[in-house]
Amino acid sequence: MSALSDVSTHAMATARWRISEVAFWVLALACAFLFPSRYLIMTDIVRLGLFALSLDLILGYAGIVSLGHAAFFGAGAYSAGLLALHGIINEPVIALVAAGLVAAVLGFLTSFLVIRGVDLTRLMVTLGIALLLEALAERFSDITGGTDGLQGIEMQPILGLFAFDMFGKTGFFYSLIVLFILFLLARRVVHSPFGLSLRAIRNNPLRAAAIGVPVNRRLIAVYTLAAFYAGIAGALFTQTTALASLDVFSFERSADLMLVLVIGGTGYLYGGLIGAVVFKMLQELFQSLTPQYWLFWIGLVLVVIVMVGRARIHRWVLFVPNLIIRQVAGRKAAVAVPEGDAS
């Protein structure tokens, strides 16, 4: 009994909101007012952050390596596009949830394929599913528009009140609010007993099963949830840019997503968001340096990160903030190395 209460006290303590977290969100909101001319790229970052958050749920918390997460992004993007194009659901928020649900159903169905087998099989199956969907979208071009993508999507105002403007202001606030709500949900989930059991599975599936965690059911549940998140991210993409094309399924999208998450660090939810900001900045920088060959630099970043070691890089990055916290607050550093990198 006491062990149980220890666990719950510990879980409650880690689930408490920290000052740094509040500061993060205040800063995110402040950006909206600081850079009014940069709404489009900031929307891009928010979307990417949500997508990376979704991958973090399965990679950082459940340890599933996926090379085809774009499958759910694409499913969400095309669902939102088709719903708007044919006027089935005109209200963007309801359409967003509907698109997320479509992706979640897809995630649920494919999760049975993914939980089987070892890492390599998982890589192959996830990659295969994304490629399969891309091939399908190309094949049924009368529905999806083929290589041209969905064209002529017109978005209705959000909740009938806020129309999308050409500067992307509405789109940005809409995306940020969606991200925040979904982040709160994800935060609740990973700090719940369910989230703890996921970590147990990531660290050692066999041992988790031995203490009575239903491993497969937990993996299916979190995979479905992550698919839902990715679907929402995809739907946001379609709704804020008013287009959906075949490249939503592309391998590069899944690979970039891994990079985003790795830059930010896995297993503490903020990794995807921070990674998205850094990744977009890097991308802008590289594209301005060498417009055509920026892929090279992205690849170099990946190789360097792996060679140096992910955990070590995060220690370096966090060195200065930790130093400040130690000096100012006079207590142990609150910003720790994300535990997901220990493995």
Binding site: V65, R116, L120, T121, L127, A135, R139, V262, V301, V306
Partner: protein
Amino acid sequence: MASILTNLFDGVAYGMLLFVLACGLAVTLGLMNFVNLAHGAFAMAGGYICAVLVNNSGWPFFAALPLAFVGSAVIGIALERALYRHLYSRSHLDQVLFSIGLVFMSVAAVDYIMGSSRVFIKLPAALEGQIDLFGVGIGRYRLMIVVICGLLTLALQLILAKTRFGSRLRAAVDDPRAAIGLGINVPQVFAFTFAFGCGLAGLGGALSAEILGLDPYFPLKFMIYFLIVVTVGGSSSITGPFLASLLLGIADVAGKYYVPKMGPFVIYTVMIVILLWRPNGLFGRTAAR
């Protein structure tokens, strides 16, 4: 009837090509449990080496082929010694990230040096056109591929089965720890195998320029094919990947010819079904430990 046989032959040629391209990957995966998504980059290197030698320096095609092998093998061993060997004990996630990074770099580098358009290798006149064999049209180039790849496969099988190096390699694949205990220098065996596999990929890349097309995006486009060969075939022998390559080659050619609208759909579906049915591959005992 004749067209079926011609397609079958094309499929076999394609499959054998895939085998030469992918067998190095099968061995590295089976030996060190290393997920190397950058294998296609070595194939691309071989293809471009051959293209430059033949088109720019005027080498004969058959003299350039061994150079493609050697060039890729040298690049392979350099990267193995410098980078890869530090990652054998890391998680699969690290290996995947690292090799994706390498792929991205190779794509952009080749794009920068050679341009983004497809490269053709000038073939000797003797390899062009078809010959008629019992009423079945057979492309000369594809016939050459079948001959070369068939010989290579035989040679590989002999090396694995009959030589001392082969038995060391097999021992290392079966159980690296026991092999080390018996005094086999496993890292050395691995480095040599890695270089040889990269060389084979380079040779395959040079041969495949005519059939698969050679452009900077080669490693990305065909990554899935190499992985299919390895995962479906398993990595405990070379017979498994060989049969898997033939199956894949024949299925792909037949699929493109008879149901062109389905595109690559058939292959992916078949792959997923096979992996569900036998997660360790059709012929493998343990695809990954």
